[in-house]
Each structure stands twice: as structure tokens, then as C-alpha cells.
């Protein structure tokens, strides 16, 4: 009795609003700030536009039309490059997946309770992720010369950043209670992680690795810009020939698309098998 009376009753005599005024004000300010920034950006980016936007769709459709129909017979020329791209992605993904494990554990709050280590790993991964893939590729080409190796290295570093983040987040959501039980029954750190944690994250781990594999296949297009090999380079030089090669380019895109779909399919099947 006394308890609920000592609680300061809300001053509102009126029925309350759904959100407190302060929250409302904050959200409103943020909202308008975003809208203002958006309008400003739109205005700023359009300052150099000549002519009006009404022709845009027609123009776009007419270029897009030049890509169709795709020249599927061109596929026979690019099997090798496609294979190479997949092989690069396989190697890069495998290595990234291996390196990710310790990094992800170190950057998961619930596993690495030693704060400085946790923050150091986090910061390192954040920095890694800020580096654009293009810069990575350029730097590695600068270091190792042209060829497959810089391409693979760029893919490794690039996917490491994403993978470690995603996996550490997965680790942070696991049920910690079995780990506690393992600890209570006298298991050492590695035993606890292996028997308590690994079974919980394995399905997610697999599907994230496959997701990164897919990203790596797509990223080969970017690598093409810097001569790091693969299908991207072919696409790049086809586009140099202008519109007559557009159907070839489209054939390449369709092929990449199919490969990615196959990977997606396999990954869903594999996940089913694992869960």
C-alpha cells in the first residue's frame, strides 16, 4: 500500500500523449534534419543537370535495349574467366573464413570479457571495413604486381571485414547458458567454446560464409578495374568496344547472375542440412 502511494503520481490529469513531449521533439528534429539534408543534397547534385528529366526514362530504355538480347554464344569464350573468378572466390572465402574465427571470437563482447582486447579488435575490424574495395585492390596490385594474387588478397581483406563483424554479432546472440554449464562442469576455455558455442553458431557461420562467397563472386567485377583478373576484366574490356559489345556484356552479367543464384540455392540447401 505504502509503496504505490509514495510513487510520485504522474502530474498529467489529462490523458497522456502517446510519446512524451521530449521524445517527440527529438524525433521531429532528427526527421527534419534528415529531410533538409536530403533536399539540399538533391538540389546540390542536380545543379549541373542540363535539360529536364522527362527524357530520362526513354533514354534509359533505349540504352538498355542495346544490351538485349544477350549474346549467349559469347559464353563459350568466357568459361575460363568465369571459372577463374569462382576459384579466386573459393580461395579468398576459405582463407577469410579461417582467419575470421579468432577475430570474431575476440570481437564478441560475450566471449572476450577483457575489454581492451575487445575494443582493439573491434577498432581494427572497423578500420579494415572502411577501406574501399577499390583501394584495397589498388594497393595490393601496387604491392604484388598484377595477377591473381593481389585480387585474392583484396578479396580476403575485404570479406574478412564483413565476415568477422557478422559472425561476431552472431556469437553475441548465442545462448550463453550452455557455456556456463560447460564451465560449471570444469571445462577449459577452448573446450567450452568448442562444445558449447560452435554447435550454436555453425549453421549461421556456414550461411554467412556462403553469403560472403557470393559477394566475392560479384566483387570480381570491381577487381576487373585494376587488372586483378577474372570475369570482371572481360566485362570491362567488352564494354570498351561500345554498344556492339553490349549484348556480350549482358551475357556476362547473366552468367554471373546464374552463378550467384546457384550459390544461393546451394547455400539454402546446405543450411537445411545443417540446422
Amino acid at each position: 500500500m505504502s509503496k504505490s502511494n509514495t510513487k510520485k503520481p504522474l502530474k498529467i490529469k489529462q490523458p497522456p500523449d502517446i510519446y512524451p513531449t521530449k521524445t517527440k521533439a527529438q524525433v521531429t528534429i532528427i526527421f527534419f534534419a534528415i529531410v533538409a539534408m536530403y533536399l539540399y543534397s538533391m538540389n546540390w547534385t542536380q545543379r549541373d543537370m542540363v535539360g529536364d528529366i522527362t527524357d530520362a526514362p526513354a533514354n534509359m530504355v533505349s540504352v538498355l535495349g542495346k544490351f538485349f538480347p544477350p549474346n549467349y554464344s559469347y559464353w563459350s569464350n568466357i568459361w575460363d574467366e568465369m571459372a577463374l573468378t569462382i576459384q579466386m572466390a573459393v580461395i579468398a572465402t576459405t582463407i577469410a573464413a579461417i582467419i575470421t574465427v579468432p577475430l570474431a571470437l575476440l570481437s564478441a563482447r560475450n566471449i572476450t570479457t577483457f575489454k581492451p582486447l575487445y575494443y582493439a579488435t573491434r577498432t581494427f575490424l572497423n578500420l579494415l571495413r572502411t577501406i574501399p574495395d577499390l583501394v584495397l585492390a589498388v594497393i595490393f596490385v601496387g604491392l604484388f604486381g598484377i595477377g591473381l594474387l593481389p585480387g585474392i588478397l583484396a578479396l580476403i581483406v575485404f570479406s574478412l571485414g564483413i565476415l568477422a563483424k557478422l559472425i561476431s554479432e552472431t556469437i553475441e546472440t548465442v545462448d550463453m547458458s550452455p557455456l556456463e554449464a560447460m564451465r560449471a562442469s570444469g571445462g577449459g576455455t577452448i573446450q567450452v567454446i568448442w562444445t558449447g558455442l560452435v554447435p550454436q553458431v555453425l549453421p549461421q557461420f556456414t550461411s554467412l560464409v556462403l553469403y560472403v562467397f557470393e559477394i566475392n563472386v560479384r566483387a570480381s567485377v570491381v577487381l576487373g578495374y585494376v587488372g586483378a583478373g577474372g570475369i570482371g576484366q572481360v566485362l570491362q574490356s567488352q564494354l570498351r568496344y561500345g554498344h556492339i559489345a553490349f549484348p556480350n556484356a549482358m551475357a556476362i552479367i547473366v552468367l554471373i547472375f546464374i552463378v550467384v543464384l546457384v550459390i544461393e540455392y546451394i547455400s539454402s540447401k546446405l543450411r537445411e542440412a545443417l540446422i
Partner: protein, 264 residues
């Protein structure tokens, strides 16, 4: 002591076969990969030894005289990426609902999923061409290219979030007599908005980095600087660019954390 061991597990033939097939395929994939790819380590390492001093020290001794230019270009990039990502975030919402299993049903969501996949299949270069033709070579073409490129990825991520919502809450609203729209606004949106926001902000960061596309459309931006710095082997300028990107992304990280705390 007499040992009584547990009986051997009886795995179904299907499972056994599946395990065998998966194992063999994976082994085959790796064999194929390692046979197909030959890396010349010796050459790469020689090259590394030779180039290391030319690249790495330069990267770490940024060319501060380029600071002004980098800052200005970075600002341009932010405007373009912001407009593009916000547009994408808005476009991705309806698409993600169309592609979510639990909103459209397993089969009706297929076209949506395919559409999102198809958008993602278009490389930057081609998106760039499309939009340059549409609106000319300028920052706005960059905005559009980024918007479309990001829509594919955001739509996919959003639809995955929608697929993970807590169904019980939806049922709670239905039991109150709420209709479909009300359920959407009361049970679905509150659950997904925070994640949508995080992904949108994350994508904004990605768009700031992945700005090579902007160079192609003549939108300027940091991507163009990267292309030229690399073409001219200007490593110390590349260092400055990197610093610029790291600073901006970090600032965005903090701002977005702040905003998320307010809104979520």
C-alpha cells in the same frame, strides 16, 4: 567394470547419402580450384620486397597538401551518397515486403526476390552508363546509380528482417480485432524499423566507400580521386584519401549511433 555403450545411431540412408555427396562435392571443388589456379609466389614475393618501400611508407605519409581537395571531394561524396542511400532506403521498403515470405507467401514472394537479385546483378559500370544517358554526367546520375545499386542489397536485407519478426505479436494484434493495415503499423513496423535504420545507415557508409561508380558518371567524388591516384601511382595522395574516408566513416558511425539511440 562392465561397459554398456550406447547403441550406434541409425542414420537414414538419405542423410548418409547427403553427407557423402556434400563431402565429395566440397573436396572436388577444392581440387578443381587448386588445380585451376596457379600462383607464382616467388615472383609475388620478389615484387613485394621491391615495392614495399615504395608503397607502404608513402601510404603512411599522407600528402597533406591534398587535404583540402580530399575534404571537398569527400563532402561531395557525402551529399551524393546520402541522397542515393536515402532514396534506396525508401525504394527498398515496398520491394522488401514483396519479397518477404511471411508477407506474400512462399511462392508470391519469389518474383520479388528475383527482382532484387537481378538488380544486384547489374555491375556499377552498367548502371553508370544507364544513368549518364538518362540525366547526363553529373552528380545526380551518381545519386541514381547509387540509389538503384543499393536498393537491391537493402531490399534483400530488409526482407530478411521482415521474415524474422515475432509472429506472436502479430497474433496479439489480430486478437484485438486489428485489420491488416493496423497489424502492419502496430505489430510489424515497430519491430523492423530499428533494423531497417541500422542497415540503411550501414549502406550509407558502404556507398561513401564504394564510389568508383561516381567516377564513371563524372560525378566526381572520392572514387574519382582513387582512380586517378592509382593511375598516377600517387600513393601518398592515396594515403590522404584513406585518412579522409576513415574519418568520415567514423563520424558517421558516431552520429548514427546517436540517432539510433534517439529513435530506436
Amino acid at each position: 567394470m562392465n561397459l554398456t555403450l550406447p547403441p550406434k545411431p541409425k542414420n537414414s540412408l538419405f542423410k548418409k547419402l547427403r553427407a557423402i555427396v556434400i563431402t565429395i562435392s566440397i573436396i572436388a571443388l577444392y581440387i578443381w580450384t587448386f588445380l585451376g589456379i596457379d600462383l607464382d609466389w616467388e615472383k609475388a614475393i620478389n615484387k613485394l620486397i621491391q615495392q614495399f618501400d615504395k608503397v607502404i611508407p608513402m601510404l603512411f605519409s599522407p600528402d597533406w597538401s591534398a587535404t583540402g581537395e580530399v575534404a571537398l571531394t569527400m563532402l561531395e561524396t557525402i551529399f551524393i551518397a546520402f541522397a542515393g542511400s536515402l532514396m534506396a532506403a525508401i525504394l527498398a521498403v515496398p520491394l522488401s515486403f514483396l519479397a518477404a515470405n511471411n508477407m506474400m507467401g512462399k511462392y508470391l514472394s519469389m518474383p520479388g526476390k528475383w527482382l532484387l537479385s537481378a538488380i544486384r546483378a547489374f555491375p556499377d559500370l552498367i548502371l553508370a552508363i544507364l544513368f549518364v544517358v538518362a540525366v547526363g554526367p553529373n552528380a545526380f546520375a551518381g545519386v541514381l546509380a547509387i540509389a538503384i545499386g543499393s536498393t537491391g542489397m537493402l531490399g534483400k536485407l530488409f526482407s530478411e528482417i521482415i521474415e524474422q519478426i515475432d509472429k506472436d505479436v502479430v497474433q496479439g494484434m489480430q486478437a484485438n480485432g486489428a485489420n491488416r493495415t493496423q497489424v502492419l503499423f502496430y505489430a510489424v513496423l515497430p519491430q523492423i524499423i530499428p533494423e531497417f535504420l541500422s542497415y540503411a545507415i550501414y549502406r550509407f557508409e558502404v556507398d561513401i566507400r564504394a564510389s568508383s561508380i561516381l567516377g564513371i558518371v563524372g560525378a566526381g567524388g572520392i572514387g574519382t580521386m582513387i582512380v586517378f591516384a592509382s593511375a598516377n601511382d600517387n600513393w601518398s595522395q592515396m594515403g590522404t584519401i584513406l585518412v579522409g574516408i576513415i574519418v568520415v566513416v567514423t563520424v558517421i558511425d558516431f552520429t548514427s549511433a546517436f540517432i539510433r539511440k534517439r529513435i530506436v
